[in-house]
């Protein structure tokens, strides 16, 4: 079979685990070989999909607090034992921080990219509302708005039934975040406009929390969560309770 010997090492190559010289030889081969480059692309997609799917569980703040308390030395312990535990905790924290600079940088970068996404969402919300034509499909009927997105975005999603709620749908438009297409819906509640954004989770570069309420740096109330592989953002200057109510309607509809 063509390139059998190369393909046997393709995963090791993509994991960056071949010796330097062999990596360079492999680079040259993959660039010039359609079969190996197609295979490499598939495997990279698979790696990326596992990476996204694998970052799934986020600890609660309550659990974090419990762990912090459990590893913090108790004041009633003897001075010597307390000192030893404190030293061990400190050393673990220092060693953890210093021996994992890469991971530290990654987590810093994760936070920075999260902040960037939240900020982009806020910008999209504001600039859309400032526009003279904020929506491209103007309808209060979800059965009109939902089909409008067909063929425009690479996924489907459900819009909630709004009967017996204070919300009304104003319409929707296509939007982009991280060069990724998504849906932008605008709702009204007591003269406040609320934006709902929907994107494919795996297409976003930032690693977002599974659920997050009102990131502090934003001047708006916001709620974001992931459901069925889609990432939802609900943002607006309405009260946190209104944002949460609309989010709940979406969660129930999905």
């Amino acid at each position: 079979m063509v390139c059998e010997s190369w393909k046997a090492k393709l995963d090791t190559y993509l994991d960056g685990e071949l010796p330097e010289q062999e990596m360079r030889t492999f680079d040259a081969h993959v660039r010039g070989c359609p079969s190996c480059s197609a295979d490499a692309l598939t495997r990279v997609q698979m790696k990326r999909a596992i990476q996204v799917a694998g970052k799934r569980f986020v600890p609660t703040t309550d659990f974090r607090r419990r762990i912090e308390l459990s590893i913090t030395p108790k004041p009633q312990r003897s001075f010597r034992l307390g000192w030893m535990l404190a030293s061990a905790t400190a050393v673990i924290l220092v060693v953890g921080a210093t021996t994992s600079t890469y991971m530290g940088n990654r987590s810093g970068r994760d936070q920075a990219s999260r902040d960037h996404v939240y900020s982009e969402i806020a910008d999209l919300h504001v600039t859309t509302l400032a526009s003279s034509s904020p929506v491209d499909v103007i309808s209060t009927d979800r059965h009109t708005v939902k089909p409008w997105f067909q063929g425009k975005i690479p996924f489907a999603f459900n819009l909630p039934e709004l009967q017996n709620s204070e919300f009304s749908l104003l319409g929707g438009r296509m939007t982009y975040l991280d060069q990724t297409p998504g849906a932008h819906l605008i709702y009204d509640v007591r003269k406040h406009h609320i934006s709902v954004f929907v994107f494919q989770e795996r297409s976003l570069s930032a690693r977002l929390d599974e659920t997050s309420l009102s990131p502090k740096q934003l001047p708006f109330n916001m709620e974001t969560w992931t459901q069925g592989g889609l990432r939802y953002f609900v943002i607006g200057d309405a009260s946190a309770a209104d944002i949460d109510s609309l989010a709940k309607l979406f969660k129930a509809a999905s």
Binding site: D39, M46, I50, A53, G54, F63, I71, G96, G229
Partner: protein, 162 residues
């Protein structure tokens, strides 16, 4: 706390139960504190604490059950991944959400799931994985290869359905 969120994520994947994962992470930190004198300063801290977590899991009831029902060492014979002529997975990955991949990961034997997660999610080197799992580098490579193959096989029925 170093690696807290990632340890928790890994623990959830191992135990497949959030409560058990919390207990596992808590026990890991307690053991790390108690066993800190055994840590060699020049060695890899991340691999060390993941190893504690994994060993704690393996001796738990869930861990014993998970590994008792699945052969851990299938590495006797080498097998090369077949060359990919068709790429159903790529089509699947492009058009589906991450849930299918999550489900396929859940279905994998724990030995395959953990090595894939350490490689792809934790982005550990083969050397780090070898230390964490206490297996030789060659075994890391062959187990990874088999885990990837198993995941691809797990996704194929989804492709047929789609």
């Amino acid at each position: 706390m170093p690696h807290f969120e990632r340890l928790y994520n890994f623990a959830c994947w191992l135990t497949q139960d959030r409560q058990e994962a919390e207990d596992l992470v808590q026990e890991t930190y307690v053991k790390a504190l108690k066993g800190f004198p055994s840590f060699q300063p020049d060695t890899n801290f991340r691999a060390w604490i993941y190893k504690i977590l994994r060993n704690t899991f393996l001796t738990s009831r869930t861990g014993l059950k998970a590994t008792a029902t699945v052969p851990l060492d299938l590495e006797g014979e080498e097998e090369i991944l077949p060359a990919v002529k068709e790429t159903p997975e790529s089509i699947l990955l492009q058009r589906s959400d991450g849930q299918l991949v999550q489900q396929a990961l859940e279905q994998l034997p724990v030995a395959y799931r953990e090595v894939l997660l350490l490689c792809e999610v934790e982005e550990m080197s083969y050397q780090e994985i070898a230390v964490t799992l206490a297996i030789p580098m060659g075994t890391v490579m062959s187990r990874l290869s088999r885990a990837r193959k198993a995941l691809r096989n797990g996704l194929r029925p989804q492709f047929k359905k789609g």
